[in-house]
């Protein structure tokens, strides 16, 4: 009995250490792949993903997000697990990871596993361990649920290939938006070591899609696509630089998602900035909004920002900001505007744009129809006409619309009870800290 309870405490402590160490990876989505059950083994997946819980910081918990071990031979300055930190260390055995995953999955705590790791011994050894764990989970424990695994930069291409056939999503973190940033804060990592496997995974996905098109039962390589993460606010890049990097990742590496992680200062290191008022959450939020505009609304990065205007407006979301700068394209007539233009109207989202196109085939739309459809009229009405008429007679004039839009307080996802929006935006470090000059984008030249 004694022995059993000691074991138990061991497992709980390990889980504590290894989930605590994994939490700064912001990706927790379980989306991107539809897989029905097969009537025998446990598990399925839904393309939309499923959130199983929400943690106290308001983020979705969908996957059992853990490190295989938090030991690491590297010394990235921003990372809690870096070699030079004196923190409790632990490691799971592959079997323990499997038991936990199955135990949690059966109780519907989670949608699957998100497995990452510090670098033990060498990148190859670490990748081998990740592979073995996934192999066990899929083949011995017959788990068909969602798996997201990290590819380790610098690991052997064959290991990445084998692992890609077992996982749904794979990701390699870019960590910092520019090569300079990487050099200063992650001296053991090289841009090339990150981009090479990213490219390999991309080609693997394309090859596998072609194969599956020919042979339905061909094994699928990373079917839910690959993603990456950048830390925001640890180095001096502008929003424009970051967004341009994201854009080329989408275009040149066909990434499914780019995640932005507001820098949290976990190490007291003079190479790291000390953001006033906590992590730059507003900046992170603006980047996600803009990212959305790139992926679903047909915007290009340099429509939203440019060298002269390198950072987002603190007070307005990127789409409103864009519209106010392009008033010559408004008002837009709801009865006739094409889908792409509808998408550019503040207050009209992808769903409502689609519904407008469907509904106007059979009826002339009125403002009350638009409301039913889900258009946010208090924002949209400045920019649209319906049957040639505006909802209220307003002048299309930048100043007055801006004033009105600001009057409608924007709802932000991370507002805390006491801190008002205005305070938060002032605390947001990025626009008030020193902006590092001369950090070129450099990225666009990489093909």
């Amino acid at each position: 009995m004694e022995y059993v309870s000691r074991e138990t405490i061991g497992l709980k402590e390990k889980l504590g250490i290894l989930s605590d160490a994994a939490k700064y990876d912001v990706a927790c989505t379980s989306s991107g792949v539809d897989r029905k059950g097969n009537g025998k083994e446990m598990g399925s997946a839904l393309a939309s993903g499923i959130c199983h819980s929400f943690s106290a910081d308001g983020r979705c918990i969908s996957l059992l997000k853990i490190l295989l071990t938090n030991e690491c031979i590297y010394d990235c300055k921003y990372c809690i697990n870096r070699r030079s930190n004196d923190v409790p260390r632990a490691a799971f055995t592959p079997e323990e990871v499997c038991e936990l995953t199955i135990g949690f999955y059966r109780r519907n705590y989670i949608e699957g596993l998100f497995l990452s790791s510090g670098i033990v011994g060498s990148p190859d050894l670490t990748m081998e361990l990740l592979y073995r764990t996934l192999y066990l989970l899929r083949n011995q424990y017959h788990f068909r649920g969602y798996i997201h695994v990290k590819a380790i930069p610098g690991a052997d291409a064959r290991l990445i290939e084998k692992t890609g056939l077992l996982t749904d999503r794979m990701s390699i973190n870019l960590e910092l938006p520019t090569a300079e940033g990487l050099r200063s804060l992650a001296p053991n990592k090289h841009r090339r070591n990150i981009l090479t496997p990213m490219r390999q995974i991309q080609s693997g996905i394309t090859a596998s899609q072609n194969e599956v098109a020919l042979y339905r039962h061909a094994p699928r390589f990373v079917p839910a696509g690959q993603s990456t993460q950048m830390i925001i606010g640890a180095t001096g890049e502008s929003d424009y630089q970051i967004l341009s990097v994201a854009e080329s990742l989408y275009q040149k590496f066909a990434l499914k998602r780019v995640f932005y992680s507001a820098f949290v200062r976990v190490n007291d290191d003079k190479a790291l900035p000390a953001p006033v008022g906590g992590p730059p959450l507003l900046r992170e939020h603006r980047l996600y909004q803009a990212d959305w505009l790139l992926r679903y609304y047909g915007f290009a990065a340099d429509e939203l920002l440019n060298e002269k205007k390198p950072n987002f407006n603190i007070l307005l979301d990127p789409k409103c900001d864009w519209a106010l700068g392009h008033l010559e394209q408004f008002p837009v007539e709801m009865q006739t505007a094409d889908y792409q233009m509808l998408l550019r109207v503040p207050g009209i989202g992808v769903k409502s744009a689609r519904k407008i196109v469907q509904a106007r085939r059979s009826a002339r739309l009125t403002f009350s129809d638009l409301k039913k459809i889900g258009v946010v009229l208090k924002r949209a009405h400045f920019f649209i006409t319906c049957g040639g008429k505006q909802m209220y007679p307003v002048k299309i004039d930048e100043d007055s619309i801006t004033r009105n839009l600001l009057y409608e307080k924007e709802r932000l996802p991370f507002e805390r009870e006491q801190i008002t929006y205005r305070q938060l935006s002032l605390f947001d470090d990025c626009r008030f800290g020193p902006v590092q000059e001369g950090v070129g984008i450099g990225w666009k030249s990489i093909s």
């Binding site: 138990t8 497992l11 709980k12 889980l15 504590g16 989930s19 605590d20 994994a22 939490k23 700064y24 029905k36 059950g37 097969n38 009537g39 025998k40 083994e41 446990m42 598990g43 399925s44 839904l46 939309s48 499923i50 959130c51 199983h52 819980s53 929400f54 943690s55 106290a56 910081d57 308001g58 983020r59 918990i61 059992l64 997000k65 936990l100 135990g103 949690f104 059966r106 109780r107 519907n108 949608e111 507001a262 949290v264 906590g278 992590p279 959450l281 519904k355 469907q358 509904a359 059979s362 009826a363 739309l365 129809d369 039913k372 459809i373 996802p413 991370f414 507002e415 805390r416 009870e417």
Partner: protein, 261 residues
Amino acid sequence: MEEHILICQDGLDGIFTAIYTAYEKHYRPEVTGIMTAEEGNLRLFAVYEHILTDPVKSGKVLRTLQDRFGEEGFYTLCLALASYQEDKATAVYRTVAKGLRLRQAAHILFRHADVDVDRVQKLKFHAWHEMHQLLGFVRFRELKNGVLFSEVSPKNDVLAFLADHFSDRFPGEHFLICDVGRCLFAVHEAGKPWFLARDTHFKRECVEESGDEALYQELFRHFCHKIAIEERGSEALQKGMLPLRFRPYMTEFTNSFQNLK
């Protein structure tokens, strides 16, 4: 013009029977309503009729709707009928009537400017949303006999949708999901199709957890606690995403299920 109100049993069978009756008697949809419970205030000049559920009639309606509305359209109608709102049956009936007049019945569902269609879409969205939340929020406990047991208390009648999802996901498990408010159980035996059962005498005190159960609950609570980034903390956001009404049934928000009433 005479107004007819048909009163039927809640659930697909009851409502489909009522729709069948309305067609059979050539009632006009604009002035015909279907209710699943007696109204508080009877309407003057309306003729009330009680409809006895008839599986043959409801089966005919079911097949017609499946045929004419297609899989997706039919799914929309069913989800709207899972709503707890009183006007659901009328909204669905009138939408169906309008749809069946078109060559492609399902196209009616795109006419968002139509009041009934708009209502059906809203009801569907709310039921779908709650169902989708529960796909994640359902918590199973392992009982002594290895059965997985869960309790939920949804506003909308979404138990069947949950049963469908979990039987696909856990084909080899025995599980029970109890809709506490409706005294309804989804029962799944490993390798067999699931079914719904009503049991008003169920005693939750008799539920006994397996030996491993407490450990897993403890591990999960610990995990949820550890995974939050304190610096980002936002309880308001958490509350918005995971409303309090779900929490009594969720492992990470309770110390033990035993004192749940």
